[in-house]
Symmetry: C2
Subunit: 314 residues, 2 copies
């Protein structure tokens, strides 16, 4: 049994989202990669957020996060407005169309870690400028496991910087289109192998409603999405996937050392972590913003995990 | 142990295909749903084909099929030309664009079963006019298991006739788009349940490069496609999926009676049959026409089955 809870440090965007989907519209609701990540991860392990918001960011949001073993002392509140993303999804719900992006205070985000953040054993670098991702890695004190996310904007705009980040991370998660862009390969197996050669020994390729693929030194694991009856808003599915994935590994104490010393156990935990990610994402999409995760009960989580395993067992 | 080999009766199109894909072009090669189905199924069980070709159909094709425990005595050779489909696939390889369809002798196809066909315990009705599918069912003598396929053309064009067919089959396989059209539902779970309520107790929804979903009285099974490094031509993937699926069930002696008497065993065999289908389809797409299946060795088949199971095991 663990005597001390293991913390995950998560760095990324905190935002307001205004989202239109076939199911309806949500105006300036809580969003941002690090919020989705942290709430999802907090079902498994304590989290520390490093991010930035404007003075318009409601205090109750931070208070609510704090109540869920999420440390928000690393959230800078600065003069100006919070990042605000406006987007919409059409009938097939597979890809967001960005209508406007007001970076606001996030434009000058420069993550500064306090002494209480430097020793987190698990680090997640959400989708931010790869230069900032490296700055975070410069500030932490030898974490046991580092994962990161990225997106087309950085893959196309700062490929060399992103490749420097990739040399320093254990795990990368991207979606299919991003994997193709990053690798220059249209075949998913070849793309994943090329990306693994860039640094991360574990690559996760997210496939939206089709689930996710895990590539490790041991080969490939293919997980389906947990099928839901009603998708309200896909926003945050990828970040909450990453949160549950990383939270699961943190709770299990799985790290880079285990990868060397007990590769079978490492592989098994990675696979179960991917399923945990798929399950968490399936809850996220059932409502706007973090609403579904806010009311998610642990027995629902466990129930869906068992169901998903049943759906892939022969 | 079985003392007599169990036969599958397969009724559908025999064709020449001319196909252009990013990997190249094939001119007037052997195609047609029943050919893909039969060759795939013949790895598991003997098959009897009922179909029609023109006088231009090369004798060596029939000879080659005969050498693979495929009975071609039900193939009518009539005056005129063989069905010829011309299509192309773009870079993403997910959906064929039909450039021309010359039905030729297939336009007046009227399946007539000989005495040697009426007692096949397994019947597969490939994608043909639902009126002809019913005519086949009128001619067979209480098969143990009946599966069918269909497509948008019949779902939209002859919905009432198709629904009469569905009342008489155990298993339906369709792709995602067809499931949505047939059910009027955009959600895959709801779509499958509505289709099951139309008759077939087992519904398979094929998802191309993402694999297939199986819906049974016991719930849902989600199988990934077996990922291949190079997709040359997706034509015939769905029909060879169905062939291996049905062949696997026939070889195992799984039928409607087992569904009642041993539902757990039935469920397990259905799941394994879906994986067999995914594996067979993965070989089909590696070359044009039936070329890859023609040179497929049994140990390759078994190897890929083990790999696929490993890719979904936690």
């Amino acid at each position: 049994m663990k005597t001390h809870p293991v913390s995950i440090l998560a760095v990324g965007s905190m935002a307001f989202d205004t989202v239109q989907t076939p199911a309806g519209k949500a105006e300036a609701v809580l969003g941002g990669s690090v919020n989705y990540f942290s709430v999802a991860a907090s079902f498994y392990a304590p989290v520390q957020i490093v991010g930035v918001v404007g003075e318009d960011f409601p205090k109750q949001h931070l208070g609510w996060l704090s109540q869920r073993r999420i440390d928000v002392t690393g959230v800078q509140v600065v003069a100006g407005k919070t990042f605000h993303w406006v987007g919409s999804y059409d009938q097939n719900l597979s890809e967001a169309k960005t209508l406007s992006t007001a970076l606001n205070v996030f434009e000058h985000f420069n993550p500064k870690l306090g002494d209480n953040h430097r020793h987190a054993p698990y680090v997640f670098l959400a989708n931010i400028d790869p230069i900032l991702q490296q700055s975070v890695l410069d500030q932490v004190n030898s974490p046991k496991l580092v994962a990161c996310d990225s997106m087309n904007f950085w893959i196309a705009g700062k490929p060399d910087e992103l490749k420097k980040t990739l040399k320093r991370v254990d795990i990368l998660s991207v979606n299919e289109g991003e994997a193709y862009l990053l690798s220059g390969q249209r075949n998913i197996i070849k793309a994943a192998e090329l990306i693994r050669a860039m640094g991360p020994s574990v690559v996760i390729i997210k496939r939206g409603e089709y689930g996710a693929m895990l590539f490790t030194p041991n080969g490939m694991f293919i997980a389906p999405a947990f099928p839901v009856q009603s998708v309200v808003d896909p926003t945050g599915a990828g970040d909450s996937f990453a949160g549950a994935f990383m939270g699961f590994l943190a709770e299990a104490g799985a790290d880079r050392k285990m990868a060397q010393e007990d590769p079978r156990q490492w592989e098994n935990l990675l696979r179960r972590a991917v399923l945990a990610g798929c399950v968490m994402a399936s809850f996220t999409v059932e409502d706007f913003s973090l609403h579904r995760l806010m009311r998610l009960e642990n027995d629902e989580l466990v129930g869906r995990q068992h169901s998903l395993i049943n759906m892939i067992t022969v």
